[in-house]
């Protein structure tokens, strides 16, 4: 079974051992474009690692391994706080990309504080929930902590289950469900509609509440066919109306 630490970055999905699973839902496996011609001697000499590490071992490759393999020249390997999630497929070359250290430091701090915040905000551990889609032969799991908005989740789920859409999110990541006709269109269409089971055991329409609240309360996700989700909508509307 596929490792739970899934990486949804475009083009990277194919590196995580999916080839080993026979049942696949046509994941967007963009060909590895950056298996570039590393014939440039300067780059080869400086960077010992090539993208050979891209195929099987990436998910298991940890940062200390990476450090051992690089040449002593590379003094500027900066720790990547998210490395357990993203495979470090390229070794770091001193001074590349050419960005001022000042800027690098600022971005590093912000990255760390972002990840700290997401941890603080939701009790630290990952928030894996099962995702089922009507008609799909098996379920998947996602870590809701990896995303910061409904849009991101939608994109990721979209890659997982191709013909799926959560609809457009507005700036607050909450769907415009005050507009009843829009809601009806969505539900009547052959589009799939994401729903989730909350802490109370109720099945809710995804998108009503602020993202952070959703992550806290979501126990599992179910992607229903639009026509089936109709029953949920009035209740969702009620809940929204009573809040505003």
């Amino acid at each position: 079974m596929v490792d739970t630490m899934l990486n949804y970055e475009e083009g990277r999905c194919n590196k995580l051992g999916f080839e080993e699973t026979e049942l696949r839902l046509g994941l967007p496996g963009a060909g590895e474009k950056s298996n570039a011609n590393y014939g440039k001697r300067g780059y080869e000499e400086t960077v010992d690692l090539k993208l050979n590490l891209s195929t099987k071992d990436v998910g298991n490759l940890d940062q200390s391994d990476l450090k051992e393999k690089t040449l002593s020249k590379e003094k500027n390997l900066l720790p990547c706080p998210n490395d357990s999630v993203k495979p470090p497929a390229k070794a770091q070359v001193v001074g590349w990309p050419p960005v001022r250290s000042f800027r690098k430091n600022v971005m590093a701090v912000q990255k760390v504080s972002d990840s700290e915040e997401t941890e603080k905000g939701s009790g630290g551990a990952a928030a894996f929930v099962k995702v089922s889609m009507d008609g799909a032969p098996y379920l998947r799991k996602v870590d809701l902590k990896m995303y910061k908005s409904y849009q991101e989740l939608s994109d990721a789920l979209g890659k997982m289950f191709s013909s799926f859409t959560i609809g457009k999110c507005d700036s607050q990541g909450m769907m415009d469900f005050m507009n009843e006709s829009k809601l009806m269109d969505l539900l009547n269409g052959s589009d799939y509609v994401p729903t989730y089971e909350d802490k109370d055991g109720d099945w809710m329409l995804v998108g009503d509440v602020p993202w952070e609240m959703f992550v806290e309360s979501c126990k599992r996700l179910r992607i229903m066919k639009g026509t089936e989700a109709k029953g949920l909508a009035p209740r969702a509307m009620e809940k929204c109306k009573s809040r505003s």
Binding site: G42, D83, V99
Partner: protein
């Protein structure tokens, strides 16, 4: 003597001086001073602004001897690649001797602008105490000082108008430097302390802003909270340029509401930056000022996602300058292209510096902007991939580029579609953009691209090369072809002694040459240094290579050479050898 000259000599010097007053560009003044001795003399006594692009090309004594009336000095220190950690920390570039010399000689210094220099607290203190009319301090990418030095400036510079700190590494001593501005200080026009990492005395800041009625530009650091921003804006609705600190608050709160109202009253803001920490739900507060913005810098705000960026940019129809992160994506750049028709400068910085990245932008975004923004003339673009076709299209759409800096995140990536080198694409750029002054190339590149550059880039003054080329020919094409070349910096490219020594005289027409991780040897560097006494040829040895006399055939790791009137510098550290 020609007729013109004899006629001009009948003009008293005051007239010449008055005429020269209209010449503000230092290049014009340099040209004028070469005409004849009397013009040289008049010019040098009347020059108030001096620009020194390499602090080691001359020394303070010469500066003072030639331009005794200098009031404004601009100095640049470390080589450009120091920005990317390629130059050891204590290589040099100290400003202290300059300040000391000017202080001793009674120079009436009013303005000091430094880039990539080492500025100690002692120098700031000396500066603050030596020049009673000092008005303006601008420090870009400098280091070596702390908030104590800033306190000295604040306390002593009675007529301070401008304190502009851009991307410096400052040691924050948690002092109260902002409180050091005396109550009598009301002259501030521009204050930028966005790069400071520590706490700012919020009360002192508010009082300062309240009494400086001429304040036009204010950039806060991330320690300044949103409610302070609101109070400041109420005091200073006349601001032209605002850099917010944190932009995080509960959008349902009173404080946020007050902020929205305060911002609406700031009808003069034309430049916006900051958002160092941001709650995107607070962003709509700035929408009212977006319509008049000409400059927007969101490159330090990774917390703003693409959809939010797009929303914001949709309001910014008059934008001329946009600095942003690649989180904007190609789609976002599409929006820029259709909204920002006045755009002249675009910088897209990488958001993911450690992994291989999400998001990022590709050639599509660039093509879109080039098609939609006909006035585009300056570009810095970090991208995931590029194609020749895209560059050719960009070249056609925007023949007015003055600065074109492309940086592929993978330095040797080929054309994403054809897998060919990107020679043709950059070739198209140099051929089409006849006014191109600065170029950075990246991606898979052979000697061919340098042939094009040598052939077509007639106005090129600065060229940055990394991981490119096949042989000495590449570098030779550039040295032979680019007549106006001033700065050449090369790293990790196979250029060697033949290229270095082919035309040694060329380097006296340039400001500097940097070569690191290339094929140049000690022997060749020594030869060059012997032939050209007015060049400093510096070899930077780090750690491993401190041998008494290295083999001539040994490759040099880092070489930096520059023309100079004053010989080898006396402040070079042990690991720097001037040959």
């Amino acid at each position: 003597m020609c007729l013109f000259q004899s006629v001009m000599n009948y003009f008293p010097e005051e007239v010449l001086e008055h005429v020269f007053d209209f010449l503000t560009s230092h290049r014009d003044r340099n040209a004028v001073s070469l005409v004849c001795k009397s013009w040289y003399s008049v010019e040098r006594f009347s020059r108030e602004k001096v620009f020194i692009g390499n602090c080691y090309a001359v020394d303070p004594e010469r500066l003072i001897a030639r331009f005794p009336r200098v009031r404004s000095l601009t100095l640049k220190g470390k080589p450009h690649f120091a920005d990317f950690n390629l130059v050891p920390h204590d290589w040099g570039g100290y400003v202290y001797p300059w300040i000391e010399a000017m202080a001793k000689n009674g120079i009436n210094l009013e303005e000091l602008r430094l880039k990539r220099m080492v500025v100690s607290d002692e120098s700031l203190e000396l500066l603050a105490k030596s020049f009673p009319n000092f008005k303006s301090l601008v420090l870009v990418s400098c280091d070596g000082f702390s908030t104590d030095g800033l306190a000295a400036i604040a306390s002593n510079c009675r007529f301070l108008r401008e304190l502009d700190l851009q991307e410096n590494e400052v040691d924050d001593r948690k002092g109260q430097w902002l409180s050091c501005f005396p109550d009598t200080c009301t002259s501030l026009v521009s204050l930028n302390f966005a790069c400071l990492k520590g706490e700012a005395s919020v009360a002192a800041l508010e009082r300062l802003v309240a009494r400086c009625r001429n304040l036009r530009s204010l950039r806060l650091n991330h320690a300044v909270p949103l409610d302070t921003l609101q109070k400041i804006l109420v005091q200073a609705p006349q601001l032209n340029d605002l850099g917010t600190g944190t932009f995080v608050h509960d959008p349902d709160s009173d404080a946020y509401c007050k902020l929205k109202n305060a911002i609406k009253k700031c009808k003069s803001i034309r430049s916006l930056s900051g958002f160092l920490d941001v709650n995107t739900r607070c962003l709509p507060a700035v929408y009212p000022i977006c319509t008049n913005l000409t400059s927007l810098n969101l490159s330090y705000a990774p917390g703003i996602y693409s959809s939010e960026l797009i929303k914001l940019i949709c309001h910014c129809k008059k934008l001329e300058r946009l600095w942003i992160l690649d989180t904007i994506g190609d789609k976002g750049l599409d929006v820029v292209a259709s909204t920002c028709k006045e755009l002249q400068e675009l910088r897209v910085f990488p958001s993911d510096l450690y992994g291989v990245g999400n998001a990022a932008v590709t050639e599509e975004g660039l093509v879109a902007v080039s098609a939609g923004c006909p006035k585009l003339n300056s570009l810095l673009y970090f991208c995931q991939q590029m194609t020749n076709a895209a560059l050719i299209t960009v070249a056609k759409n925007c023949p007015n580029f003055i600065r074109f800096r492309l940086c592929t995140l993978d330095p040797t990536i080929p054309d994403a579609v054809t897998n060919q080198p990107l020679d043709e694409g950059f070739g198209a750029i140099v051929q089409s953009c006849k006014g191109l002054k600065r170029l950075s190339v990246s991606g898979l590149l052979t000697d061919q691209v340098f042939l094009y550059i040598g052939m077509y880039a007639e106005q090129l003054e600065m060229l940055s090369i990394a991981f490119a080329g096949d042989s000495d020919k590449g570098m030779l094409y550039v040295l032979n072809g680019c007549k106006k070349l001033k700065k050449l910096e090369i790293r990790d490219s196979p250029f060697g002694n033949v290229a270095l020594l082919a035309d040694v005289g060329k380097y006296e027409t340039m400001r500097s040459l940097w070569m690191s991780s290339c094929e140049v040897t000690f022997g060749a560097c020594k030869t060059l240094a012997e032939k050209m006494p007015r060049l400093n040829v510096e070899i930077i040895n780090e750690g491993e290579q401190i041998e008494a006399s290295p083999d001539d055939r040994h490759r040099v790791e880092k070489m930096y050479l520059y023309r100079t009137l004053v010989g080898p510098r006396r402040d070079a550290p042990d690991f720097v050898w001037t040959l």
